[in-house]
């Protein structure tokens, strides 16, 4: 999962995921803004990804039950997925999660929902084509595409920057050549 110092990986790990505890946990109430208290079984709390994944694989007691169960995060809820299926271009991914794809990929490692993976791949491809069109626009992020570009997640922003830089380098070379001759 990337380098230790990778900011994007750290931000991805900090995304909250809803977890439901299956056991009573004494003295862990501070996770639920109830310092000093206990966590009751069947409490649902949003925890960062790094913590919740560790808790979910932890098996304790004679029953070998997991400490908590994970739910799909709100950023890939069925409502969002339906919107993505309808038209990937109009969804503001950034407002759902800054590192939408990476967070979703981390969760999907635990869930194995192949249909969600397919929807996300399709979304990424459709949006990538749109990103390419905007990146070749010499006016950059201004103009009519501003709303779409504001809704890009971090991975798509890097893609946009890469595509924009290479088309800029190309234009620069063409311009320099004209000056030289």
């Amino acid at each position: 999962m990337g380098s230790y110092y990778n900011i994007d990986a750290i931000l991805t790990d900090a995304q909250k995921v809803p977890c439901t505890f299956t056991l009573d946990l004494p003295n862990l109430g501070y996770l639920d803004e109830n310092a000093g208290g206990d966590i009751k079984a069947q409490t649902s709390i949003s925890l960062p990804l790094w913590l919740s994944t560790l808790l979910a694989v932890q098996r304790i007691g004679p029953s070998q039950a997991p400490l908590c169960t994970l739910d799909l995060p709100p950023s890939i809820s069925p409502r969002v997925l339906n919107a993505l299926k309808a038209d990937p271009r109009t969804v503001d991914l950034r407002s759902l999660a800054g590192n939408f794809y990476e967070g979703a990929a981390r969760c999907l490692e635990l869930f194995e929902e192949e249909e969600v993976v397919d929807v996300l791949c399709e979304t990424f491809k459709k949006r990538a084509a749109e990103i390419a069109d905007h990146a070749h626009n010499p006016r950059g992020a201004l103009g009519e595409g501003a709303d779409f570009l504001r809704g890009l997640d971090e991975m798509e922003r890097q893609l946009f920057r890469a595509a924009h830089d290479s088309s800029k380098a190309m234009r620069l070379w063409m311009g320099e050549m004209k000056r030289k001759s």
Binding site: A104, C121, K125, D133, M155, D165, M174
Partner: protein, 236 residues
């Protein structure tokens, strides 16, 4: 991040490599053969056609000591027939056929001399054409027409490259046969980024697929060389 440069060659670097292509010049002045690092150049006797490296030809052209004979594919009829072909097919127009028994690659192929094949775009078509249009537009027949056709070709082919990402998924690939050096350097960052992103998103699916395959292999069903090849393709 020691180097601020993106991976791959930048446009000026690609153009520099392109300057090693051989072009045909018609000298206007005598010049003895030069002993260059890349081998001796033939002596120039006007008005005999002589093959020279592109960079030397450009230098002589700027000093008005020679005229450059443009390659046959850089003419309005050839370019417009290639453009028609590009518009008809979803794939790129095929590169010129390799001469028999050759082991070299561009820029050491004679793809820009006066006897190059007229009906195919060589590897360095974009940069060579642009540089010729800038430095030697008076040697090219109908330069404005050629310039317009070059721009059309470039746009058609870039659009194809961008449309190519839509078929990418899992083991499938985009066919980039016949794409030129400058086009690669322009499209590399975007296509690489899309492939990388799809790999990240599809990682969990890929992992479960591999597990399933490993299980099947253990049970004695399926498995074999075909899957191995596919996995190799995904890593690159």
């Amino acid at each position: 991040m020691a180097l601020p440069l993106p991976p791959g060659l930048t446009p000026p670097e690609t153009a520099f490599l392109c300057e090693m292509e051989m072009v045909t010049v018609i000298p206007r002045q005598r010049l003895e053969g030069l002993n260059l690092l890349g081998g001796p150049t033939p002596p120039l006797h006007p008005p005999h056609r002589t093959p020279l490296p592109f960079w030397l030809a450009l230098l002589l052209k700027r000093q008005r000591r020679a005229n450059i004979l443009p390659p046959p594919w850089l003419s309005p009829p050839s370019l417009s027939s290639i453009l028609d072909l590009e518009k008809k097919t979803p794939s790129f127009s095929p590169p010129p056929p390799l001469p028999a028994h050759t082991t070299t690659s561009p820029p050491f192929l004679p793809s820009a001399t006066a006897d190059a094949p007229p009906d195919a775009l060589p590897y360095h078509w974009l940069e060579l054409g642009e540089m010729l249009l800038e430095a030697a537009s008076d040697d090219i027949p109908e330069p404005d027409n050629v310039r317009r056709l070059m721009r059309d070709l470039r746009e058609v082919r870039m659009a194809k490259m961008r449309a190519g990402v839509n078929v990418l998924e899992g083991g499938r690939e985009v066919n980039l046969n016949g794409v030129g050096g400058m086009e690669v350097s322009e499209g590399r960052a975007f296509i690489g980024g899309v492939v990388d992103g799809l790999r990240k998103i599809g990682a969990s699916k890929e992992m479960s697929r591999r597990e399933r395959e490993a299980e099947e292999r253990e049970n004695g069903i399926g498995g074999g060389d075909e899957e191995e090849d596919e996995d190799d393709g995904m890593d690159t």
